[in-house]
């Protein structure tokens, strides 16, 4: 038997894109295509009727039995395609892979759930869809219900569940799957914080039981917590493989603007962003220079420059600040203050800069990621860029710097400590 649970050799997956992506071919296309075949045979290069892209190319890696491997990469890097191939949902276009052991794939929670069926019925249905035997489900039934905390509603159709309950039940079924090799996509990003903690706990139990796990997530803290090693995918290729901490640093640092400024080219904008047109996001020091490294003892200014081609009612621009481990530090919007909120109830067409100052003594030392988004609350998100730019904070001169140790936590506030000595 192979020493590897998963061995992937030069796997590639090609998709067809371009004008044809949005519809299935009809009989008409087939007939037209058939009539054109002499032309195609004679002059094959003249017939690029479809554009192809490689979602994955030359991907090779191995996972040992019992290893927990993280897969990280930005949207569109090919993570989901890789998982779909490994879970046999789709076939690779080229290459070869060998999987030794029973695979359980969690590309989504609640696959096959039917809103009209009760919680009880959906547990059985979903369990069967995930490849569990009926006896196995029956044996774990109470545990599943208990974990999800939906005991009272187990005979109620799930369409009457709150979205939280629905997700808890769905996750709970999935969490009780016991494959030898578990392939997990982004599914932990569900439910409330407490439930997420519970799920992470469950996942680390699975990892500690000696099972092989392939884990994809955007949540770097989850990846760090659950996996010992990770591969970084970029544009369909494996660009790095290292112990998780190192891989996460590599991922967070790579590819972002290091100049303290991110400029948006028209070609990279999604069509549904209109009429919002982002121009740039930048970070400035107190002297007005665009910088990518600053001191924690100085304030810094964040600017978002954009154009509106027509007015938008209720538009707000936000920044998201994240550590390089993927934990959010804060979120803030340009219409948070009542005056701005009232003044820009409708933002007219024009060229704008939304600017804010982040006070001194907020950040701890380290690298931070700034994301930005333009949205109308509960109506539409026009544009977002989770990782607009990265900047580094140096803590020289910050409170507590007399000790050379690294301070825990993303913030390093200057707290006004008082030490009183009790009288007497």
């Amino acid at each position: 038997m192979s020493e590897y649970a998963v061995r992937v050799e030069n796997i590639g997956k090609q998709f067809r894109i371009g004008a044809e992506i949005n519809r299935s071919p009809t009989f008409r296309d087939v007939i037209v295509d058939a009539l054109r075949w002499p032309q195609r045979v004679l002059k094959p290069q003249l017939n690029p009727s479809y554009d192809h892209i490689w979602a994955l190319r030359d991907v090779s890696f191995e996972v040992k039995h019992g290893q927990v491997l993280g897969i990280i990469g930005r949207n569109g890097a090919g993570k989901s395609t890789l998982l779909k191939i490994l879970s046999r949902v789709t076939e690779p276009t080229e290459g070869y892979a060998e999987i030794t052991g029973r695979v359980g794939a969690l590309l989504e929670v609640g696959t096959g759930f039917h809103p009209e069926l009760t919680g009880r019925e959906n547990i059985f249905l979903n369990g069967a869809v995930l490849g569990m035997k009926r006896k196995e489900i029956a044996k774990k039934f109470d545990e599943i219900v208990e974990f999800a905390g939906v005991n009272k509603f187990i005979d109620t159709p799930v369409k009457r569940y709150s979205s939280g309950m629905y997700l808890r039940l769905a996750f709970s079924v999935a969490a009780h799957l016991e494959p030898e090799i578990l392939v997990v996509d982004e599914v932990l990003a569900v439910g409330d914080a407490e439930f997420q903690r519970k799920c992470l706990g469950k996942m680390s139990d699975v990892a500690q039981e000696g099972r092989t796990v392939l884990f994809v997530s955007h949540d770097m803290s989850a990846v760090l917590r659950l996996t010992d090693e990770a591969i970084v995918l970029d544009k369909g290729r494996v660009v790095h493989r290292a112990p998780t901490r190192e891989a996460v640093d590599y991922y967070m640092a790579s590819g972002y603007s290091q100049s303290g400024e991110r400029i948006y080219q028209p070609a990279e904008l999604p069509p549904d962003a209109a009429p919002f047109r982002p121009l740039a996001v930048r970070v400035r020091d107190p002297r007005g220079n665009v910088v990518d490294a600053m001191r924690s003892t100085e304030p810094l200014t964040v600017e978002i420059e954009y154009r509106l081609n027509s007015p938008i009612k209720g538009l707000r621009l936000g920044i998201y600040c994240m550590t390089n481990r993927g934990e959010y530090v804060f979120t803030s919007f340009d219409t948070d203050m009542p005056e701005e909120y009232d003044k820009f109830a409708v933002r007219p067409a024009g060229h704008f800069t939304s600017r804010c100052q982040i006070p001194a003594n907020i950040f701890n030392e380290g690298q931070y990621i700034l994301g930005m988004n333009a949205s109308v609350f509960r109506v539409k998100r026009y544009f977002h860029d989770e990782h607009a730019l990265a900047f580094t904070v140096d803590a020289a001169g910050a409170p507590g710097k007399q000790w050379g140790e690294i301070r825990l936590g993303p913030v390093r506030p200057d707290l006004n400590w008082q030490i009183e000595e009790a009288a007497g």
Binding site: S24, T26, K84, R88, G95, G112, A128, V129
Partner: protein, 295 residues
């Protein structure tokens, strides 16, 4: 996790299954063993379809009765009162109703199966399982409607004083034949439907034509006599290529017992439906590999 799920519980190393992933070329094997391994899922999918079928309808399972009854009334008027086509010594209502049951099973199974891959899109793009189960369970779930309407048929048999014939044992076989035919055609159509959504527009009209080409409201003898005069050579036998001819005639023979066994029609029906089934399964398997990318 419970203690029992510790590694000791995992199968010994040498019996681990090995899955090879690579691009497949040409025709693939049917992999019936895989189908068998997933039989419980087939059961659950069928059970889900049955459970969900009449949820949120006002009349619920009554629809399974109302539909063939109304069809019967309209057919009686069109073919009896207006057309004056004889039905032999069988009263027209029961003559038509007996044929409508397998026909409705067939036509609704066919349309459910054709739509099944698209309507289970969510599962197909997220989980691996033998895709053949999807049209397969779509067809199985239609049997419930058939059984409900069958009770009405039994009532009509009592009313019109038709005793049970000695051939009644063959009814399940004809039922199976109708389902195999629907599955055979449904496999082709469901795979096509993913690639060419034309199927959605084509199917209602094809089914309608198909219904008139099946001896539901008229007797087979009448049709083959007329065709014999119209067509040269033995071309009238083409009519038998419709497997539902054998099924419908089989039902009348086994339940109403007034004719001879429709042997010739049945030979055609069995051969054609098996051919459709086997070719449909191979075609489906061949197209299967791109399902998740197409839907």
């Amino acid at each position: 996790m419970p203690k029992s799920s510790q590694p000791a519980n995992l199968p010994a190393a040498q019996e681990k299954e090995v899955i090879i992933l690579q691009p497949s070329k040409g025709w693939s094997a049917l992999n019936l063993a895989d189908l068998w391994r997933y039989r419980e899922l087939a059961f659950f999918l069928t059970w889900r379809d049955i459970k969900v079928r009449y949820k949120q309808t006002m009349l619920g399972a009554l629809w399974a009765i109302i539909q063939p009854l109304l069809q019967m009334i309209v057919f009686n008027f069109l073919f009896g009162n207006l057309g004056g086509i004889p039905t032999g010594d069988i009263p027209r209502p029961i003559f038509t109703f007996t044929a409508l049951l397998p026909w409705n099973l067939f036509s609704s199974a066919l349309s459910d199966a054709s739509r099944s891959l698209v309507s289970n899109k969510n599962m197909i793009t997220k989980v691996y399982f033998p895709r053949l189960l999807v049209p397969f369970s779509a067809i199985l779930s239609g049997v419930v409607d058939f059984l409900i309407a069958f009770v009405i048929l039994l009532g009509m048999m009592v009313y019109y004083k038709f005793p049970l014939t000695s051939a009644v044992w063959a009814v399940p076989l004809f039922l199976l034949l109708a389902m195999v035919s629907a599955l055979g055609v449904g496999l082709w159509l469901s795979a096509w439907n993913l690639h060419y959504r034309d199927v959605r527009y084509m199917l209602p009209f094809v089914t309608q034509l198909w219904m008139f080409l099946t001896p539901i409201a008229y007797p087979l003898s009448e049709a083959s006599d007329k065709l014999l005069h119209l067509l040269p050579l033995n071309l009238h036998k083409l009519y038998f290529l419709n497997p539902m001819v054998g099924v419908v005639e089989g039902f009348r023979w086994a339940l109403l017992g007034s004719q001879q066994a429709p042997t010739e029609a049945l030979i055609y029906a069995v051969s054609v439906s098996l051919l459709l089934l086997v070719s449909g399964m191979y075609y489906f398997r061949r197209m299967e590999r791109t399902f998740a990318d197409m839907v």
